[in-house]
């Protein structure tokens, strides 16, 4: 004998699922945002590859203590 599950209304199932998905999407966007900064800034090799020569310049004319 096969029992048949009673049909639940579609909205009752989909609404919490959609809310959860939306929440996860928002959360992951934020988390991805942080990752995009720290992915680079915690990887020394990647930084070395991507950083040009140091821009901090001191004039060769400068002499003596400040």
């Amino acid at each position: 004998m096969q029992f048949k599950k009673p049909h639940a209304p579609v909205g009752t199932i989909l609404t919490p699922l959609l809310c959860a998905a939306l929440f996860c999407l928002l959360l992951s966007t934020s988390a991805f945002g942080d990752d995009s900064c720290i992915t680079c800034h915690t990887d020394e090799d990647l930084l070395e590859e991507n950083l040009a020569e140091d821009k901090t310049k001191k004039s060769a004319m400068q002499a003596g203590s400040g």
């Binding site: 966007t29 020394e44 002499a63």
Partner: protein
Amino acid sequence: MAPLEPQEKVLVSEDFLDSTHGELACVDCHGGDDTADDKEGAHEGFDPQPSINNPQETCGECHEEAETVPQSLHMTLATFPGYLEKRASEDTWEKVDHGRDRHCASCHTSCGGCHVSRPKYSGKGFVNGHIFSAKPDPVNQCTACHGSRVGNEFFGARGQGDVHLEKFSMSCEDCHSAEEMHAAAPEGLENRYHLEEAANCKDCHQDLQYGSVRDHRIHNNKVQCQVCHSQSYVNCYSCHTGTDEQGIAYFINNHEYEGMKIGFNPDRIPGNNYKYVILRHVPVDLKLFDYYIKDGFPRFDVASTWKRASPHNIQRRTWQNANCNNCHGQRDLFLDESDLLDYEIKANIGVTVADDQIPPKRARVMPLGIDASKVNASRVVTVEWLNEHLDDDNLVILDARSESEYEHGHIPGAINLDPNATEGLRTDPYADSALTIEEDETLAETLGEYGIAVDNHIVVYAKRGMDAGFLLGLLDYAGADNISILNGGIIAWELEELELSDEEPDWEEKTFEIASRKNLIVDTDYLKENLDNPAVKIVDVRVLQQSTGLTGHGLAGRPGSIPGSMKFPLPGLYMDDSYLKSAEELLWVLRERNIRPNQTIVVSCNTGNWAAAAMFMLRYLGYPDVKLHDESWINWED
């Protein structure tokens, strides 16, 4: 402080992500676009220095101090414009102020430069992977800017260093509180000493008038503490500003020298109402901003060029307080018109001390009891002597500066032998074996190549006396007896306006008959065996930031010091500019530090170079049993 590589400057540590500040999103403080998928887009609108550009909406969100920091002296340098405006006129001020803004104002900093990064002036970059520290790092932050005077003097790169660090491991913030650092400077604040929150010796050293020290009772509130307790310090002259071919602003400080002057207090206010203070020559000059406007200071004389100073090289016992008459009646110690440049005499009328204003000598004083009879006086020659003996047959003059300095002009006949850059004097620092003086054969060959014979009278000079001392220490070890340092070095020669040459002399190679004094050298095993021997004193002559373990040497695997060693930085024996303090003063200082001739004195540093210079100086002073720990710290720690 070694400069950071570009990637090191912005490398965030994993530990930061677990810290309180790491919980914030990067964009919360720095702006930028954290949804962008490339570097350029991510840095669109990015602010590398939020604490300078937007302190209240970043740091200020949590830290209430951020409300006053934008008006703090570290941020505004508020007392600079005041002094310059006084000297300028209504017509010249705008351009002078523009020059000030391009040059003097570049030093300012805010929260970030003290709590997370190196300040902008010192090249920026995270101190510790973006981790914030409530206490600023004395090496990477405070003295990264305050280095040329405060840092060098506090850590013993000029003089013996400061007792607060050496004996009590105190750091900057132990005197300079957060309240002082964060305080807003009141409108019109005349100078930094007037800041209500400013550090004062008497914050800790209270009620001196009731203490057991007689001289405190006598001098309290009349004489600034540093008059008796500081060592000599640097004075700067004649700063000029300009813009180079690449459009980068620069300044040139034309002359710096180590010295000490006492004068009248230009700045008597309640709480700082001393009659006598230590004065320092500041780099202001009539032509400071000539690049921006000629004759920018028509009212130059309204403020002195010798300002109240507070050297950060305090010692309880100094040469000035060794004896009443080391200060009383000492004309040379008090600022006089003869110390002034022609154009600054009027500016300093209020601070110079006339003959009849100098405290008179005391009739009876305690003798110092210094025995200078063992001093080997022939080991120091003057420029006058050298100039008269330039043509002596047996004389060899060695210039221990770099090749480029030598080429710029040297004493006629001098041979360039830079001990820090010449192979064949010391072994390869990167070899597996310990770094030491070379084997006899190699050392003799090298010295011979430079035209030196063991029985020559060898005179060595440099710009820094300790460089000459290093080479003289090697020559002493190699068996040369007739060796001398030129007092004042190349600076004294130039100041006497004696002839300079840009031609390298012809010399012939000689055979240097080496007679090395092996008894002058001890190795690390000797030190291990004698750590508890009271007759052996190990003297660590490195700067205090290394001997106290704050930083390490590039060749050493770790910071630290040899157990039981005493700290006496080499610059306590050699002044900045190659002039030597009197033998009596040096002997007194060493005795005060309990470095006595009746002990075996072992000098040690990082690599043996500074220790060799210390050995030369101690043997000149007549110490009979001085030994060089040639292997020094980099071998000990290994």
